[in-house]
Amino acid sequence: MTQQVETAERQIRALIEAWAEAARRHDLPAILAHHEQNIVMFDLPPPLQSKGMEEYKATWDLFFKAHKPSQGFDIEELTITAGDDVAFAFAIMRCETDAEPGGFPFRLTIGLRKVGGEWRITHEHHSIPAVD
């Protein structure tokens, strides 16, 4: 692995950890700090997709109702693959809510582009397996 790739993967890991930490404390500006305006989000609950920053931002309203700042929103497994200016990451996360105090695991995939020297998130896909 080249030093450049190692640096990129370290930067992206820090970015995703900061994003999860911001979600845990309900800090919306920090949650949105590394997202592009044209973000396309496939969220765990409906709708099918949320396009653009305003719709992405709105997906967090539901999260803030279900999750309290003392509860977990934790990365359990994280794999990052970075090129020069495009990268992806996938993770298993655990989210605690009042309805699920022990937490439930969910899947997360993130797509990033390097814009103006900084890694920016352009795509997120959150899900749990469907029952049927």
Binding site: T81, D85, V86, H123, H125, S127, I128
Partner: protein
């Protein structure tokens, strides 16, 4: 542009093999250590062999050729790393005579290996209404 064309061909090839139930072709352009988050349980498949086994064991099969079409595919490529997201319109008649139709979200993450694009990760899901 050439990379984007090749990636589109890889993903369309996957969709065609899935639609036709060509079990040995489905993962023709997936890495052996691909990590798959599929629409139904389990949470994840680690490796092409584990996913291939699920096809033999239980993946739903349709009578004749069902519908399985990639839609609105958006591809981001840089160097040897790429990701793509879009929708899959699927449907058909199961062997018990039950008809189904669904629109699901799909994210594909790819790496260029020895000049060919290979799927390193794919994530397919539909939105789930959470309890509480």
């Amino acid at each position: 542009m050439r990379d984007e064309t090749q990636i589109r061909a890889v993903l369309e090839g996957w969709a065609t093999a899935t639609r036709k139930g060509q079990k040995d072709q489905v993962l023709a352009n997936h890495l052996a250590d691909v990590l798959i988050y599929d629409v139904l349980a389990p949470m994840k498949y680690e490796g092409a062999a584990a996913y291939r086994k699920s096809w033999d064991d239980w993946q739903p099969d349709t009578q004749g050729e069902g519908q399985f079409d990639l839609q609105d595919l958006s591809i981001t490529v840089g160097g040897a790393v790429a990701f793509a997201h879009g929708f899959i319109k699927c449907g058909g008649v199961l062997f018990d005579g039950k008809k189904f139709e669904d629109l699901v979200r799909a994210t594909f993450c790819l790496r260029k290996v020895s000049g060919s694009w290979k799927v390193a990760h794919q994530h397919i899901s539909k939105p789930i209404q959470l309890k509480g």
